[in-house]
C-alpha cells in the first residue's frame, strides 16, 4: 500500500515542483508574459476562457480519437498481414519505413487539396502518423511467436484463423499495447499539426490565432490542454493494457486477478 502511494505521489510531486520552479523563476526574474507566462497565469486563462476553449478541446479530442481508431484498425490489419509471412515482412518493410520517414506536416497540404480544410485532414493526419508504430509492433509480435506454440496448434489441426485468434494475436498483445501508448500521443501531434495548418477549429488553430494576437498565456493554455489529454489517454490505455496483456508483466500483482 505504501508502495502504491509512493508510486502515485512521486509523479504528481514532480509535476507540481516543475510548476513551482517555473513560477518562481518567472516571478524572480520578472519575465514578461509575452515571453514566458507564469503557470498561474496560464491556469487563470484556462479557467477564464474555459467555455470558449471547450469546443476546440472537443474538436481536437474528437479528430484525434477518430484518426487514432482508423490508424489502429489499419495498423493491426497490416501488422497481421505482414507478420504472418516472412515474404510479406521483407517485401513491405522498406515501403513502410519510407512512408513513415515522410514528415507528416508535409502531407497535410495534400490532404487539404483532396478533402478541403477542416476535420478530415486532421483525422487523416492523426491516422497516418500512428499507423507505423502499430504495424511494426503487431508484425513483430506475430512474427516472433515461438514455433513450438504454433506446432501445438498445428498438431491439433487448427486452421490458420484458429492459430491467429488463439496464439498469434494474444501473443502480440503486449507489443500492440506498447505501440498504442506511443500511437495515441503521436495521434495528437498529427491532428494538432493539421489544425494549425488548415482548420478553423481545434486547439491547434486556437493556438495559431492566440499567438498572432500575442496572447501567449492562451497559447500555453492550449499546450496544457494537449498535455492533459495526452496523459489522460495514455493512462486509459495503460489500464486496458494491464487488463488485457497483464500476463506479460508478471511483476505487478495485477496479473493475477482471479
Amino acid at each position: 500500500m505504501l508502495d502504491l502511494i509512493r508510486a502515485k505521489a512521486a509523479p504528481a510531486a514532480l509535476i507540481l515542483s516543475v510548476f513551482l520552479v517555473w513560477e518562481a523563476v518567472c516571478a524572480a526574474g520578472g519575465v514578461s508574459d509575452i515571453l514566458l507566462p507564469r503557470p498561474s497565469a496560464v491556469l487563470y486563462e484556462l479557467y477564464d476562457r474555459w467555455w470558449a476553449l471547450w469546443p476546440h478541446t472537443w474538436q481536437t479530442l474528437y479528430t484525434t480519437l477518430v484518426g487514432f481508431a482508423i490508424g489502429t484498425a489499419v495498423g493491426v490489419l497490416l501488422g497481421v498481414l505482414i507478420g504472418s509471412s516472412r515474404l510479406a515482412y521483407d517485401t513491405a518493410y522498406p515501403l513502410l519505413v519510407g512512408i513513415s520517414s515522410i514528415p507528416k506536416v508535409a502531407v497535410v497540404p495534400i490532404f487539404v487539396l483532396w478533402f478541403g480544410a477542416g476535420t478530415v485532414p486532421a483525422v487523416l493526419t492523426a491516422a497516418i502518423i500512428c499507423i507505423f508504430p502499430i504495424v511494426v509492433n503487431v508484425a513483430t509480435g506475430i512474427a516472433t511467436v515461438e514455433p513450438e506454440l504454433e506446432d501445438v496448434m498445428k498438431t491439433l489441426r487448427a486452421s490458420k484463423l484458429d492459430i491467429l485468434w488463439n496464439v498469434q494475436l494474444p501473443r502480440a498483445m503486449p507489443y500492440f499495447f506498447a505501440s498504442l501508448k506511443v500511437a495515441v500521443t503521436l495521434a495528437f501531434v498529427g491532428s494538432v499539426v493539421a489544425e494549425t495548418v488548415a482548420s478553423n477549429r481545434g486547439v491547434g488553430n486556437m493556438m495559431m490565432v492566440a499567438s498572432s494576437s500575442f496572447n501567449v498565456p492562451l497559447v500555453f493554455a492550449g499546450l496544457f490542454i494537449l498535455a492533459g489529454l495526452g496523459v489522460a489517454l495514455y493512462l486509459i490505455f495503460s489500464a486496458v493494457e494491464r487488463r488485457v496483456a497483464g500476463w506479460a508483466m508478471r511483476k505487478t500483482d495485477l496479473a493475477v486477478t482471479t
Binding site: D151, V152, M153, T155, L156, R157, D162, V167, V256, T258
Partner: protein, 285 residues
C-alpha cells in the same frame, strides 16, 4: 468424465489387426545440395493401436523427426507415413485421427490459466469444438479439472503457468495433450528437463494415464530407464541418418512398480540398450 463423455463418438481407432501407424521406407532430407542433411534413411516402423512405443537413440538421429512426420508437421522426402491407414495429413480424411502432443518445453500459453490451457484442444478439435460455447463453463471445465486432479494438480486450475514449477507445468502439459481423448499421444522427451524424483513420479502418472485410456503412445526419450519402465516396445535408432536398428519387446508385467527399476532384469535391459546406442555412436564417428 463418465456418462457424458460417452456421448462423444469414440476416436477412430484402428482395429488391433491393423497398425495405427506405419512408416514405410521413409527418408527425410533437410536442405539441398552439399548442405543437405539426411535425417532418416529408409526407416520402417509399425505401431499397433493401443501400444506404448519408445524411440531411443543417439542425439540427432531423427527421433523427433518421426514424431513430426506422424503429426503431419513435416512430409517425408520419400516413402509413406500412414496413420490409421491414411497418409498423414490427408485432407480428405473425414475424421482425422486425434493427436495429442507434449514437448520437452511445456509450451503452455502464458496468457491463459492452467485450466484454460488444458481446455485449449477442446476449443479446436472436432467434435468438441462444435459445443465449445455451450460446454466450456460446465462439462469441459469439469473434464479439465478431473484430469488436473488425476495428475496431482487439483486446485491449480486458476493459476497462470509462470506460477507453477517446471514439474507442475509438465503435468499440465500432459493434461492438455490428453483432454481431447487422442487416439495417438506423441511425447517428445516430456520429462527431460525435470529432476529425478519428479520424473519418476510422472512416469507413474503416465503409466496410469495410459492404462486407463488405451491411447497409443509414441515416446521419444534419451532416458533409457524411462523407456524401459514405460514402454511395451523400444526401438533403438542408429546415428544420423537414422533408421531402426533393433526392436526390443519389454515384457515386465503391469502395473510396473517404481522398484522395478532396481530389478536385475530391468538393469540388464537398460545396459543392453546402452550398449546398442554406444555402438551406434561409435559406428557413426
Amino acid at each position: 468424465m463418465t456418462a457424458e463423455t460417452a456421448l462423444v463418438p469414440a476416436a477412430p481407432a484402428a482395429s488391433p489387426a491393423r497398425p495405427l501407424i506405419t512408416l514405410d521406407g521413409v527418408t527425410v532430407r533437410f536442405g539441398r545440395g552439399t548442405a543437405a542433411v539426411q535425417a532418416l534413411a529408409e526407416t520402417s516402423l509399425t505401431v499397433a493401436a493401443g501400444d506404448f512405443i519408445a524411440l531411443v537413440g543417439p542425439s540427432g538421429c531423427g527421433k523427433s523427426t518421426i514424431l513430426r512426420l506422424v503429426s503431419d508437421l513435416m512430409r517425408p522426402s520419400s516413402g509413406r507415413v500412414l496413420v490409421a491407414g491414411r497418409e498423414a495429413g490427408d485432407a480428405a480424411a473425414a475424421e482425422p485421427v486425434r493427436i495429442g502432443m507434449a514437448y520437452q518445453n511445456a509450451t503452455l500459453l502464458p496468457w491463459l490459466t492452467i485450466r484454460q490451457n488444458v481446455m485449449l484442444p477442446l476449443k479446436i478439435v472436432p467434435p468438441f469444438r462444435a459445443e465449445w460455447r455451450r460446454k466450456r463453463r460446465t462439462e469441459y471445465r469439469d473434464r479439465a479439472d478431473a484430469l488436473l486432479a488425476q495428475v496431482g494438480l487439483k486446485g491449480f486450475g486458476d493459476k497462470y503457468p509462470w506460477q507453477l514449477s517446471g514439474g507442475m507445468m509438465q503435468r499440465a502439459n500432459l493434461c492438455r495433450a490428453l483432454i481431447h481423448d487422442p487416439t495417438l499421444l506423441l511425447l517428445d522427451e516430456p520429462f527431460g528437463a525435470l529432476d529425478q524424483f519428479t520424473r519418476e513420479e510422472l512416469w507413474a502418472v503416465m503409466q496410469e494415464l495410459w492404462a486407463t485410456r488405451g491411447t497409443t503412445v509414441l515416446l521419444v526419450t534419451h532416458d533409457l530407464r524411462e523407456a524401459a519402465y514405460l514402454a511395451n516396445r523400444i526401438c533403438v535408432m542408429s546415428a544420423r541418418p537414422g533408421r531402426i536398428l533393433e526392436d526390443c519387446p519389454v515384457d515386465f508385467p503391469r502395473p510396473r512398480p517404481l522398484d522395478l527399476t532396481f530389478a536385475p532384469d530391468f538393469t540388464a535391459l537398460v545396459q543392453r540398450l546402452r550398449a546398442l546406442i554406444v555402438a551406434a555412436r561409435a559406428a557413426a564417428a
